[in-house]
Amino acid sequence: MSGDTILAVNHLAMRFGGIVAVNDLSFAAGRGQITALIGPNGAGKTTVFNCITGFYKPTGGTMRLTHETTGQVSLERLNDFRISKLAKVARTFQNIRLFPGMTVLENLMVAQHNALMQASGLTFLGLIGAPSWRAAERSAIELAKFWLERIGLIDRADDAAGNLPYGDQRRLEIARAMCTEPVLLCLDEPAAGLNARESAGLSELLLSIRADQGTSILLIEHDMSVVMEISDHVVVMDYGVKIAEGTPQTVRDDPKVIAAYLGADEEEAIAVMESGT
């Protein structure tokens, strides 16, 4: 694992009218690492995601993405689709956003839209059926097949995405994000609604993505087993600010974090911890 930072968030702020959702948030995600963003409900985690992935324009702060070859990109200056296309940041959603009326395979083909658009010569080469287009289409299908085998859905490639069971849909959404060949993968509660076995499978998938593709991962998660098992670095938020940061073990034992999750005071948390040991 390299030691440099892929995403540096500095003094990020997001206001909606009078409500401050995110207030002066700064953290760094390491390249090739899995960084988890945790915190109680309403802490502002999804808002941070939406800022990073271009769905909201932050009211303050910077988010700098550093590519290995092409240098730095300021995410706060790009908006929506460019973040995926140019900065190579992919994401999944809290409420799964697949294309339910399209097949599993078609979902993965849509993800490769930009590469295929170029190969089809802005459609014209595709219309005339040029060999270069056909080759590009074949390799796109191969990439889709690769990911389908990785997530174990190769046999359901021609089924409608809306017909898949919930756990499969979650994995399909991750595979679809990976088909855009991102450098940073942002996952919004990927383990939500999964049982223990499926969560373990998810952890394994994410670890293998980190190992084989070298993709950096940023995830929001409530399932602590997943967080503890796979994260290299954890950032804790509450009420829009960062309250702790560090390795999973450090954060787990931090009284501020415990207090935030319990809705109690820090002093009470310390008292409970000390009385327990």
Binding site: T53, G54, F55, D80, F81, R82, I83, S84, K85, A90, R91, F93, R97, L98, F99, P100, G101, M102, T103, L105, E106, M109, V110, A111, Q112, H113, N114, L116, M117, S120, T123, G126, L127, I141, K145, I154, A157, D158, D159, A160, G162, N163, R176, A177, T180
Partner: protein, 439 residues
């Protein structure tokens, strides 16, 4: 404890309930129709408003409502909760499904042979041309509404732009049909992009009404810009099409003379028939190819979930604009054909009713389905023709049919979507899963 609830449907409350409902319906009908039907006003000979009574008609209408209400209630009981799907037995349903694959080729063969079969029936040939024109319009709008999910209620604007472009270019500059046709398409596509830009962020009903407003603006500008468009008088003397320069006239330079056959006015009609068929098939072919290309897939993805599209790096702006432009282009082609077929165009042919009719064809066909749109156009235009003699009632029945269709089959005739790429087998996706798009 008492026995668990029965799983049977509750017993029908019986005659009393049905009669009560019928009486209420009849009473409502009486109030609604009493003034509008019972009294008939008209501007009298001296300009004064006079009236006369039509109690007979009023009574019969109320009677029809009364009886109709009873019939509907009885039908509802008889069909049960399964609705109309219970009528057709499963074996027959399966049979229909396999037969369905042959419908499209069979229909195509039949269409190619229509001028042969009906060679001497001018009326049928004209009807065929009309149907094919609406099929093409339906296929064109299908790109915008069916594939991309953008609710366009102003499609007639592109039809008008195409028609007037050809008419004005041909009458002012003497350009031939084959030169003007691509120009009409390009102009219509430009207008499509101009329409698309302002509406990029609009959704659903708002998008629909803005496109409706655009369509009306085009019509009003055509009516009022007399110096350019001739206003309400329209443009006449539009030249007929030629077979790449060879006119279809009785003279020695005509096509009949060149082919060595006797000239007949039917030749032109047959030529027009095959011309619109070729244009429609072009629309169909391009649409089917585009669906398999990234742009078409992006259109359908846009309809399914626009937010997800943005997250995958798809430029939704250019995707929407390309959908508008492509649909508009086909509308423009159809408009140019319309102008050359009629020889005369006026703003009256480009009303909101046309947009609504084409939209109804697309929705009835099952959005996104090429065959469905063709069948819907055939049914609707054919049905319209049956009302030839009863012009007044045509639109009234059309409105009623639209309401009934939406209540009975809001997803259209064809209940499934065909995928564009597959590994092993193309499985049709039920339209319950397919989103209809919000723009």
């Amino acid at each position: 404890m008492t026995a668990p609830a029965t799983t049977q449907a509750p017993r029908s409350p019986g005659i009393a309930f049905i009669m009560k409902k019928a009486f209420i319906s009849a009473a409502v009908a009486l109030v609604l129709f009493s003034l509008m039907i019972g009294i008939r006003t008209e501007a009298g000979p001296t300009g004064q408003l006079i009236y006369w009574t039509r109690f007979g008609e009023l009574a019969s209408l109320v009677g029809i409502v009364f009886v109709g209400s009873i019939v509907i209630e009885l039908l509802r009981r008889w069909l049960g909760p399964a609705g109309t799907s219970g009528i057709v037995p499963p074996a027959l349903q399966n049979g229909l499904a396999t037969a369905g694959r042959f419908v499209a080729p069979a229909l195509l063969v039949f269409t190619l042979l229509v001028p042969v079969i009906f060679y001497n029936q001018r009326y049928m040939l004209d009807l065929g041309i009309l149907v094919l024109t609406y099929v093409m319009l339906g296929w064109g709008l299908n790109v915008v509404v069916g594939l991309a999910g953008l609710l366009d209620l102003g499609y007639v604007a592109f039809y008008a732009v195409g028609a007037y472009s050809y008419a004005l270019l041909a009458t002012s500059f003497g350009l031939s049909f084959w030169v003007c046709l691509p120009l009409a398409g390009i102009l219509a596509a430009c207008w499509g992009v101009m329409l698309g830009f302002p509406v990029l962020r609009l959704r659903g009903d708002y998008l629909a009404i803005v496109t409706l407003a655009f369509g009306e603006i085009i019509r009003l500008v055509i009516i009022n810009w007399q110096s350019l468009t001739g206003g309400p008088n329209g443009v006449s003397g539009i030249p007929r099409p030629t077979l790449f320069g060879i006119p279809l006239t009785p003279g020695d330079d005509g096509l009949a003379a060149l082919l060595g056959i006797k000239f007949s006015p039917t030749h032109r009609i047959v030529f027009l028939f095959y011309l619109i068929l070729a244009l429609a098939l072009l629309t169909n072919w391009v649409t089917i190819r585009l669906r398999r290309l990234p742009i078409g897939r992006a259109w359908e993805a846009l309809r399914e979930d626009e937010v997800a599209c943005r997250a995958l790096g798809i430029n939704t702006t250019t995707t929407k604009l390309s959908a508008f432009a492509t649909g508009a282009m086909f509308g423009g082609f159809a408009g140019a054909f319309f102008a050359t077929r009629q020889g005369f165009i006026s703003p009256e042919s480009f009303t909101f009713q046309e947009s609504a009719l084409v939209l109804a064809i697309v929705v009835l066909g099952g959005m996104g389905s090429q065959l469905g749109v063709a069948l819907a156009a055939l049914t609707m235009i054919g049905g319209f023709e049956l009302f030839r003699g009863l012009d007044q009632y045509r639109m009234l029945v059309f409105g009623i049919v639209m309401v009934l269709l939406m209540i009975w089959r809001p997803r259209g005739l064809i209940g499934h979507r065909a995928p564009t790429v597959y590994l092993k087998r193309a499985q049709a996706i039920s339209s319950d899963l397919v989103k209809e798009g919000h723009g």
